[in-house]
């Protein structure tokens, strides 16, 4: 019998480089593995959170349920990076962006197969799970 306690560090799989490994929202990774991008919804007051969180600051309840990001959001803005921080150099160039879904917004990357000429602020995009070349998981915005 091992006395080592198992650590739930699933979140280290998120993104090219993850800076967090342990969070109460670790199930986010399991959903990514199933092809779903999820936010959380407070069962107490109904507030929807993206990014997902374990605690509701409105009613102070810790009673959340997962809620899938579906449909399309409007591209608010983006930037194409020609330089990258340490750990991300092999990804360059890539675009970070923000989608507005109305009740919430989603920050992420634009899919690599979309060239900059095809990107237009205001366009409708959808959020999809993506597996990175290093085996890590994130999500990207695709043309809807």
């Amino acid at each position: 019998m091992s006395s080592v306690k198992e650590v739930d560090d699933r979140f280290k799989k998120f993104g090219t480089v993850s800076f967090t490994s342990i969070t109460k929202t670790n199930d986010f990774i399991d959903y990514l593995e199933k092809g779903k991008v999820m936010g959380t919804r407070c069962k107490g007051c109904g507030l929807i959170f993206f990014p997902p969180r374990a605690d509701c600051h409105q009613c102070l309840a810790g009673n959340m349920e997962w809620s899938e990001i579906t449909g399309t959001g409007k591209l608010v803005t983006y930037s194409k990076l020609e330089f990258a921080p340490i750990g991300f150099q092999e990804d360059v160039p890539y675009c970070i962006a923000l989608l507005d879904y109305g009740d919430y917004k989603v920050f992420g990357r634009i899919a690599d197969d979309l060239s900059e000429q095809d990107i237009e602020v205001g366009m409708q995009m959808k959020t999809a799970v993506n597996t990175l070349p290093n085996g890590q998981l994130n999500y990207v915005f695709q043309k809807s």
């Binding site: 969070t23 930037s79 194409k80 890539y94 923000l98 920050f107």
Partner: protein
């Protein structure tokens, strides 16, 4: 109600790589402020040390600095709000003095960014954003501000040329500032020359010339209660208004992308507290970590209506002789941006202006000045209004 004054200001030269340790770097700004105020260390009742600590090996620099500055056994405080740390330090000093707890407080800001490489620095700066949900995508400060630039361009038709004019203005004055890290001229044509470094891409739409320079530096602001200020100082500069605000770290939690909500809120608070309006400001320092940041500051602070900031720089209204001179010390773009030292340096510039001691960059007879200092991508916002 008793007022609170600034009675001494100082800063080190802002340099690419400081040849000394962090306590020695901090001493340079401290020494200049102490000499400016003609004080001895016995006159200082407390110190406030300000920086973003992730650049340093030293844990808890405040205690180390207090000893090195000769400020034992007085208490010391450590304040961190990224790039607005030393404005936040002055806000703390104001409340310490106003409460009657201390009479004279030294606010020392510093940053030695050269301890780590430029890409490591970008990575740490990126971690001033949301490390759980944003940083795994590979974020960095220029890209975040670039997202605001793109939104501003889309909504208001702002152009890269408008932004380049802000860099040209900064360099005009950076050349006159012997404390600036970047003292070379920048011309408008450099931005359209693909061979020129200024036009090189960083994070679209921002280019190399749109970004400020990393630097090592320190600053010091000495804050005192009214009676002490009048007894100790011939030209006290009064703290008339203070504003401070926070916003969601993740951009997904923001509503505005053509300006910074924290600057709008902090500005409103500071104007109300001082009982003045934007038109009353005679000289200003704004947080131009990127050209777009200065453009948004014009609008967030009410110097121009939303979307009309570009006219201010086109018409040279923000030059030294204009109606609202902004960053006539070179700004962060040319003077450099040593995170924890920046707010104190901005405040120093405005204090010297209000004392008519700004030399080559002196604005004519200013009565009221404003400092706008932002931490992160509008995560923290501080606005300080000063008067002679």
């Amino acid at each position: 109600m008793s007022k609170v004054a600034i009675i001494g200001v100082g800063q080190s030269a802002f340099v690419r790589s400081y040849p000394g340790s962090i306590r020695e770097l901090a001493f340079e700004g401290f020494k200049e402020a102490m000499q400016d105020a003609r004080l001895t260390t016995k006159d200082i009742d407390a110190s406030v040390i300000c920086s973003a600590p992730e650049y340093d090996k030293q844990r808890s620099p405040a205690g180390v600095f207090a000893e090195y500055m000769g400020l034992n056994p007085q208490p010391t405080f450590y304040v961190e709000s990224l790039c607005s740390s030393s404005s936040m330090g002055v806000r703390l000093a104001y409340s310490l003095v106003k409460s009657g707890l201390h009479d004279v407080v030294a606010v020392i800001g510093f940053q030695k960014m050269s301890e780590i490489s430029s890409s490591e620095s970008q990575e740490r700066m990126g971690r001033g954003a949301d490390i759980q949900w944003e940083s795994p995508f590979g974020t960095m400060m220029p890209a975040y501000y670039a997202m605001f630039a793109r939104a501003h361009m889309e909504k208001y038709g702002t152009t890269l040329e408008d932004l380049a004019l802000i860099r040209v203005k900064a360099a005009t004055y950076g050349q006159l500032n012997d404390k600036a890290v970047y003292r070379k001229p920048v011309t408008f044509d450099m931005f359209s020359d693909p061979e020129n470094r200024m036009s090189g891409p960083v994070a679209s739409p921002l280019r190399v010339g749109d970004c400020c320079a990393n630097a090592d530096g320190s600053s010091c602001i000495i804050v005192a209660k009214e009676e002490k200020a009048k007894a100790l100082c011939k030209k006290p500069v009064w703290i008339m208004g203070l504003g401070a605000a926070t916003a969601s770290v993740n951009l997904a939690g923001r509503d505005v992308f053509t300006g910074l909500a924290v600057a709008q809120k902090a500005g409103k608070q500071a104007y109300e507290m001082a009982g003045v309006a934007p038109k009353d400001i005679d000289v200003a320092e704004v947080h131009d970590c990127f050209t777009i940041a200065e453009m948004m500051a014009y609008e967030d602070l009410g110097f121009a209506r939303p979307g009309e900031g570009k006219a201010l720089v086109k018409d040279k209204a923000t030059y030294k002789e204009g109606s609202i001179p902004v960053n006539v010390d070179g700004g962060l773009l040319s003077k450099g941006h040593p995170i924890g030292a920046t707010g104190g340096s901005q405040i120093r510039t405005i204090v010297l202006q209000l004392r008519d001691e700004a030399g080559d960059i002196q604005v004519k007879d200013p009565q009221i000045g404003l400092v706008h200092n932002i931490g992160g991508v509008g995560l923290y916002g501080n606005v300080t209004i000063l008067a002679r």
